[in-house]
């Protein structure tokens, strides 16, 4: 019953995000701040993880192709497909649920605990719009982060494949270009947009409606991470079935 109540409250919160908007002069500063906090500050970790996971995907694919009849360029092909279809949009989003999600929950939760949200409400500010809308708009640039992840994932695969002796540079590049479907990129970015919405709203919900003190802020961050991950996994399955199935 509590879950149903929370789901209802979540959708009411989404409705409030778009009501009584904050002045544009204030909003634009908030959006730029959130782009910096949520997107640019995540570039380093996304590049690092993507590069090395791309390398691991290449090495594992190459090591599992023992049949000499299978062409070596398939290593590049498999790396591209894995990175674009699954790793970059889905797994980076789960990593971001930990990094960005816990930041959002703890920052809003701390504002709740220290009565800063009450202060906004008393002033007549729509606190949900003020706090959540800039995050939502900032995360609309999330596909940029994912495309960086895709690039560095494939680059990591190329470096591991070409310099590790698992395939030649030409074979890897041939594999990257082999049977390329634009729709796969559209599918990946469609997922990315949906995940960006989830990343902005579920952690905000857990931060905004938390009760208690500092300990509960920590608990809310953990709960937000768990629920964001679960929703991303379920939506990943649903969207894959709808778009590719």
């Amino acid at each position: 019953m509590n879950y149903l109540e929370d789901i209802g409250r979540y959708f009411l919160m989404i409705g409030m995000v778009f009501k009584k908007p904050t002045k544009w002069t204030i909003l634009k500063d908030l959006i730029l701040k959130e782009v910096e906090e949520l997107i640019f500050s995540s570039l380093g970790i996304v590049i690092f993880i993507s590069f090395f996971i791309g390398g691991v995907v290449t090495i594992q694919t190459a090591l599992n192709i023992s049949n000499p009849l299978i062409p070596k360029y398939l290593v590049g092909f498999a790396t591209r497909q894995s990175i674009i279809l699954e790793f970059a949009p889905t797994f980076i989003s789960i990593i971001m649920a930990g990094k960005v999600g816990s930041y959002i929950t703890s920052s809003i939760g701390t504002m709740r605990v220290t009565e800063q949200i009450d202060a906004l409400e008393v002033m007549g500010v729509n606190s949900i719009n003020y706090l959540v809308f800039p995050k939502l708009i900032a995360l609309a640039t999330y596909p940029f982060l994912i495309s960086i992840g895709m690039f560095f994932g494939i680059l990591g695969g190329y470096v591991a494949g070409a310099f590790g002796g698992y395939s030649t540079s030409a074979e890897f590049i041939q594999g990257l270009q082999y049977d390329f479907l634009t729709f796969h990129v559209i599918y990946a970015f469609t997922k990315t947009f949906v995940f960006a919405f989830v990343l902005a709203t579920i952690p905000s919900f857990h931060g905004y409606y938390m009760k208690g003190g500092a300990l509960e802020v920590g608990k809310a961050s953990t709960t937000a991470f768990v629920w964001t991950s679960i929703v991303i996994i379920i939506l990943n399955f649903t969207l894959t079935q709808m778009l590719l199935g």
Partner: protein, 255 residues
């Protein structure tokens, strides 16, 4: 003026406010006092519209809160200033930005006009050189004064303070009390202060509402509180030996 009639508020099975009726006058410092758990904060937050009472009405001059549309409620809230117990300053903003925040949100002032207004109120609360500091760099007393400055920057008609001098040393607490009283008179606003500080009761309690277990057990002024024979009030206000002696001396001098 704020008029409260038969206010009831519950959380689940816990009935917190049990039919409170009172009136808070304009240009006066009105105090809500009572033990912890007596319903003071719930009462104050109900006055602010942060809690919705199940029964009763709250009138801000001629406006009944429950009959206002959402937009009218938001407009009314722009006439309110609030000083929270923990100050509730925005951590990511400097003191000047905190004070300018309500102006940025709701006024059509230019940036220089906003800065001038922030200057005036920061000087008014005796913080002329703290503009660029962040709340974390300010002492508890300074934070309270910034919270007062932020609350009055928009020229509110109603000022609410939740335990404004809790956690402060006695000297700073008196400074804060006096500052609130001066501002109340200067701007002719309706001020409601939630406190259990007996110094505040004696110093600035022009109207005192005493809550006990969710009921209004007594109301009067800081002069009347010396003379009352209401046991609940005397047990609470004169719980320390010092205040018992103060009361005895007052009554002796009065006769």
């Amino acid at each position: 003026m704020i008029l409260v009639e038969n206010l009831h508020k519950s959380f689940g099975s816990a009935h917190i406010l049990k039919g409170i009726s009172t009136c808070f006058d304009q240009g006066k410092t009105n105090l809500i006092i009572g033990q912890s758990g007596s319903g003071k904060t719930v009462f104050l937050k109900s006055l602010l519209g942060l809690f919705t009472p199940e029964e009763g009405k709250i009138c801000y001059n001629d406006r009944t809160y429950s009959k206002l549309s959402n937009d009218e409620k938001m407009m009314l809230r722009q006439e309110m200033g609030m000083v929270f117990q923990g100050s509730a300053l925005f951590d990511s903003m400097t003191i000047e930005q905190n004070v300018m925040f309500p102006l940025k949100m709701f006024s059509s002032m230019s940036k220089s006009e906003m800065k001038d207004r922030a200057d005036i109120v920061l000087k008014r609360v005796n913080l002329p050189n703290a503009h660029k500091k962040f709340p974390a760099e300010a002492s508890g007393g300074m934070q309270k004064r910034v919270a007062i400055a932020r609350a009055i920057v928009n020229n509110p008609r109603y000022l609410f303070c939740d335990e404004p001098n809790s956690g402060l040393d006695p000297k700073t607490a008196i400074l804060i009390d006096n500052l609130i009283q001066e501002i109340t008179r200067e701007y002719n606003i309706t001020t409601v202060i939630n406190t259990h500080d007996m110094n505040s009761v004696m110093e600035i309690g022009e109207k005192i509402v005493f809550l006990k277990d969710g009921y209004k057990a007594w109301e009067g002024s800081n002069k009347e509180v010396f003379k009352t024979d209401n046991k609940a009030v005397t047990d609470f206000v004169y719980s320390s030996e010092l205040f018992k002696k103060v009361r005895k001396m007052y009554l002796e001098n009065d006769q």
